[in-house]
Structures are given as C-alpha cells and as structure tokens.
Amino acid sequence: MDAFEAATQFSQILRNLTPSIQNLTKAAHFALRNYESEDYLFPTIIDVLEDRNIELNTKSNIFQFIEILVSESFYFSKQSKYNYPYITNLKSSLPNILYRVLPNSNNANIHNVYNSLTKISKYFKIDCINYINKFNSDLLTNEDISDIDRDIEFPDIDLDDIKSSTSDPLLAAWEFLIQKKHQSQYERLRLLKHKQSISGNVNEDDLFSIKEKSNKSTILLSKKQILSRMEDDRESHKRSKESLWVVNRPKDANWAGEDEFYNLYWNKYETLNAEEDKALLDSLNEMNKIVAASFKDSQFK
C-alpha cells in the first residue's frame, strides 16, 4: 500500500472509530503496520481532529485510540524492526491534540481524556501524581467565586502560554487539562448560580433537546449521540476496570507460574498495620460464625 492510499484508509478508520477495545487496537495496528508512512499517517490524525464536521464523540474515541497507539508502539518496539513509531510526534503534539478534543467551553470529553492521559504518562514513565491529585481536587479560588457571583465567563485558555511555560509537551498537556478542569468546575458553579432549575418532570425529548436539529455545530450533542456516548462510556469504563485485574501469563503455560506469584503476590502485598490487621481478624471472626453454623455438630467455640 502506498503512503497516500494508507493515509486515505487511515482517515476513514479514524472517522468511523468506536471505543471497543478491538476496534481501537485494530486501528492502532493499522498505523503500526504502516509505520513507514508515519509522515503521512500522523498528520492524518491531526487533520481528522481539526475537521469541523467531526463530532465530539469521535474525538473522544480518537484520543482513546492515541492511548492504545502509544501502548502498542512501546510493545511493538520490543522487536528490533520497530523504533518507537509515532511516539515522538504524538508526544510533541499532545497539547494541540487535547486542545482539539476539548474544544472551547465544552468539556464533555474531559474524563475520558484524563483516564487516557494518566495511562499515557505511565507508558512514558512520567510521574503525574501531582496532576492527578490536582485534577481530583477543588480548583476554585476566592477570586473565582466572586467572578462567578458576577456571572463572568471563564477566561479563554491560552495554549501557547502553557506551551511556553513548560518544556515537556506531556506536562504541558497536563497543565492544559488542569485548566480545562478548572474551567469545568467554574462553569458548573456559574450555571447552578445563575440559571433557573426546573423542578417537576421533564419529558425525555425535552431532556435531550440540547441541540436543535438544524444546528450543524459539532460542539453540542444530539439525543442519538448522547445515548451512543452513554453506551460507549459504559464500554470504556468496563475497559478501564479491566486493567485492575488483567493478568498476563506466558502463552505456553500449563499452570500459574512463579512470575505470577512474584509480581502479583510477593511484590504487591505489604504487611498489614495493626489497624488493618485487626479489621482483617474481625472479618475472619465473622466468617467463623458462618463456618460454625454450617456444621451440625458444634465444632469449635
């Protein structure tokens, strides 16, 4: 496949991306298979994100795809044939990509972006715990509160400013994300303070009528898009939970081996402190009652 053909096909793949893990991985593998055309394929990602007709949901999917692409690229590069394709380009463009995925004041994608960025930072071995804490904290200042009282819109976030203050693009991406989170908290409170709330029942159509049918803007979502997004988020939530339990074992293993013990037990568990130990013993005592009741003879006290 020549580079031009690959780019056209890749653009189609990105436009029709769904957030199922198979679909995302398939797209990432396509990109990696055609790693020699990176000069054409990478700009395609940016082009698709910049396309005015691309809706928010697709942008969220594309960001999840980027996360998979990073992880797969690191994985593929264990073979000598691959030399970390896409990694440099993706990393340096991260702030711009985020800027496209979280456009203007719409922060519908913020949580998915946060999840993916956390994982991307892990692949790059960058400690982002401060940002994670910040993201999950209350970012509003006293000044913000008084601005909210005066119903002032959150000031525009200047990406260039952020980029010039931080040398590492990944950290700049985090800075940008934190500001977006700040904005989302700010706007939420402003909405609660200055907009009338409706009490009573609202019928389903009104509830979803965020976007007029004639409105061609891609910033707001239609009912169909909202519902499909709920379904997609459910899927990606399930996927994010999977990472909590996934155990990789060698392909030819016939039983669980020493590596599993070493990584998932020996290195994972710490000695309990006195308080935790007591809590454990309490639940064991609770279990003993069930065990005792299970036998007809009185076995122990």
Binding site: K238, K241, E242, W245, V246, V247, N248, R249, A253, N254, W255, A256, E258, D259, E260, F261, Y262, L264, Y265, W266, Y269, E270, T271, L272, D277, L280, L281, S283, L284, N285, E286, M287, N288, K289, I290, V291, A292, A293, S294, F295, K296, D297, S298, Q299, F300
Partner: protein, 443 residues
C-alpha cells in the same frame, strides 16, 4: 391472615431447612415455600454421602480424572481471558459444589458423544459445559466481567469445537412454525443437523431451523447458571464474611507477610494453594484455615530445595523456622479455629501422599529430596505420622445413614420450586433476622 403452618425439618442443632407452607385459602391449593439457610461447608462424611447419591462408585475414578481435566481446561480459559487466579478458585468451588447435588454420568455422556448427540440434554450433563457455566458465574462474582460469548469462543477453541455447526435441537421459532403448519409432523425431523430443512408440504426451505452449537450452549449455560445460583444458595461471599471477600491466595500471602516468611517458603505455600483449589477441601474448610494449614505444612517441611528464579534470599536456619512455627497462635493471631486448621493439614498431607506425581508442586521440587535422599512423598508421609493425633472435625451428626437421611439440606434440590419463585435463601449470619420474622408471623 392466611393460615400458616411452619415446619422446621431436618435439624440437629436448629439448622438446615426450614419449610414454611402457607395456605392462602381453604382450597387445597397450598403453595409450599422453602427457606434455606446456606451451609457452605460440609464435613467429609457429608461429602461422601452426597457423592454417594450423585456419583456411582464405579464412576468415581472418572469423576476425579474429569475434575483434573476441567481444572486444566479452566486454567487455559483464565489464561487466555487474562483472569486472575481467584476466578479459577471460585470456578472450582462451584464446579465441585455442583456435583454434590447433580448427577455425574460418564456413561450417558460417552454414549451421547458416540452418537454425536447435540441436544440440550446432552449439553446439560457435559462437565466441560458445566465448568464453563461455573466460570461464567465466577468471573461475574469476582468482578472480572466478560461476555459469555467471549468465554464460549475461548472454551470452544480449546476444546477444538466448531461452534458454528448446527445441533439437533430445533429453535423455538421453528417449533412454532411447525406447530402452525398443521400437526407439525410434515417438517423434516430426522435431526439432520444441517440447519437447512425443507418444511415438507409447501417445499419452502427454512433456514436456521436448528440451533448452532454456540447458540445452544448459550441457552444451556444460562439455564445452568440459574441452577448453580441455587446450589450456591445465592451466597456471593463463597462462604465468607460480608464485609470483605476473602480468598485463599490473598489470605495466604497476607499471613506469610505477617509471619515474615521468606520468599521461597511463601512461593511453596502459594504452589500448594494452587494444587488445593481443585480439591474438595475448599468445600470443607474455610479459606483462612486452609491458608494457615498450608503455612504450617510448609514450615514443617522446610522445602529449601524448591527451585526459584526470582529471589534468592538467604536460607533461614531450622531453629528460626521452628521458632516461627511455635509463635503461630491460630486463634489469637489468625482467627483460625484449630480444628479446621488440623482438618486442612491432614487433608493436604493426604493429598500429596496420594497424588504428588500429578501435582503442580512436583514440577518445582527435585524428584529426590536432597537431605533425606528419599522420594519427596516420604516427607509428606513422615510429617503425617507426626500429626497422627490431631483432633479433626467431629462427624457425630453424620455418622450413620439414618442421621444423614434426616438432613433435608442434603436431599436432591428441587429446582422447580425456585422456578415458581417461592424459595428464599439466606446466609447463616442472617438467620437471626429470620427468627424475628418467624416470631412476628406466628403472633
């Protein structure tokens, strides 16, 4: 107020089934309801009695062989689905529990296989399909949820089954069509299983008149799951406490860390645990007592010749190990009733004395013990002779056939009652709640 008769049956010390029959009207249409208080653990006498009903003596070796195969099969599934080991442990718990109340019939199964019988009935008794159903429920209970279809795909690939093939079981739609087609006897019913059959009198070909293996398996697994839920008495804590889900592996490593046991011995413990999760010991003794028993066995065996690759720590000397052994206070330090720990110790030693060559441990130890120059099995035998006078579980209440027969909990479970929605399951620690309800009802 309906007229109620409350009938508590089969109790020795107030446990077992409580049958409550409620009469809503003077008419004889009484609906029996059963409240069952789950008894997740059974003495070995009870297990023997239950197996006596479900597995013929001549089939016992087959049952053991197939259980071993099922264990391997389930490990292959969890490996490919990347499930943690606790899913395997829970699966084996369910699988073994299943055969306490359901018949194991290798002859019928073999016959079905020979005749290439692909029906609901033949799938329902296939131990590997039962194991898949157990695994499906276990993965949900262990919070590692995967779609049944994905599990089936992996399972069938392992078993080298082409699940797109058609079975001999007609789809509901085709049955309805056949019924509306007069007497329904025109359509070809020879069970050709090719999925494309002519409906006879009108000559129109009906596609998909038969289920594919995949579709039928799905139906069977979901039906089995519902039965399985009744067998485990809807106890999602696997006989544990409600606050924290406790599995042998987690408790084991926690106890090892608490006792400051070195890497090699901890690994040895973990390997024993891996062998033990496929045995009926998990139906007799609770996870914490099994964990402690494994540690005690390990510290007594002092397996310094275990092959390890990761972590070569300095060997502890024997007197230090004995000191650790002496400090173990099973009740005070680990909330483990001694009698249960003893039961588990004896079981584990017996297991290795008889089945060492089939065990996982066998792959990690040299065939001949370096210190004694004898076969590894001797170490287990020697240790068992040391533990000969341990007090184990009392079996007074299950010592005679009469006593066992009186226990309604051990009777074959009637799934149809639950089908009518009149069965209630409780865990033993909620029994007090039920007692107050009974009191209220009777006033």
């Amino acid at each position: 107020m309906p007229d109620q008769s409350i009938n508590e049956v089969g109790t020795v010390d107030g446990l077992a089934d409580v049958e409550v029959s409620v009469n809503n009207s003077p008419a004889p249409s009484s609906v029996p309801t059963i409240t069952q208080i789950g008894r997740p653990y059974f003495t070995s006498g009870e297990l023997k009695y239950l197996h006596g009903k479900t597995i013929k003596v001549s089939q016992r070796p087959h049952y053991e062989r197939i259980t071993h195969q099922v264990f391997q099969f389930c490990f292959q599934i969890i490996k490919q689905m990347k499930f943690p080991l606790r899913v395997l442990s829970t699966t084996m718990n369910y699988y073994q529990r299943w055969y306490l109340f359901n018949e194991f019939d290798i002859n019928r199964q073999n016959q079905d296989e020979m005749e290439d019988e692909l029906t609901f009935g033949s799938f329902e008794i296939d131990p590997f399909i039962i194991a898949t159903a157990c695994l499906f429920l276990a993965c949900k209970n262990e919070d590692c949820i995967k779609k049944l279809k994905d599990i089936q795909t992996v399972a069938n690939k392992i078993r080298e089954i082409d699940d797109s093939k058609f079975t001999n079981e007609r789809t509901t739609a085709s049955l309805v069509a056949a019924a509306s087609n007069g007497n329904g006897n025109n359509s070809s019913n020879s069970g050709s299983g090719n999925g494309i059959t002519s409906s006879g009198n009108n000559g129109v070909a009906n596609l998909n008149q038969y289920y594919t293996i995949q579709e039928l398996q799905r139906k069977v697994i979901l039906a089995l799951e519902f039965k399985l839920l009744q067998i485990i008495k809807f106890d999602f804590n696997n006989g544990g406490s409600t606050n924290v889900k406790l599995t042998i592996d987690q408790l084991l490593i926690q106890f090892c860390k608490k006792l400051n046991i070195n890497y090699k011995f901890s690994l040895f413990c973990w390997l024993i645990h891996y062998d033990i999760i496929s045995t009926p010991l998990i139906l007799t003794v609770s996870p914490h007592c099994i964990a402690l028993a494994i540690i005690i066995v390990t510290l007594n065996l002092k397996p310094n010749d275990l092959k390890v690759t990761h972590f070569k720590d300095v060997e502890d000397n024997d007197s230090d190990i004995n000191k650790t052994l002496d400090t173990i206070d099973s009740v005070g330090g680990f909330s483990c009733p001694e009698i249960l720990v003893n039961e588990a110790i004896i079981y584990i030693l017996d297991f290795y004395i008889h089945k060492y060559s089939h065990s996982i441990l066998n792959n990690y130890l040299p065939p001949i013990d370096v210190k004694t120059g004898k076969d590894q099995t001797f170490k287990f035998m020697e240790l068992k002779s040391k533990f000969n006078d341990l007090k184990i579980l009392s079996e007074k209440s299950s010592s005679t056939a009469d006593l066992l027969q009186q226990d309604n909990y051990l009777n074959p479970w009637d799934y149809t009652i639950a089908g009518k929605g009149s069965t209630r399951f409780m865990t033993a620690n909620k029994r007090r709640k039920f007692a107050t309800e009974l009191q209220k009802e009777s006033t």
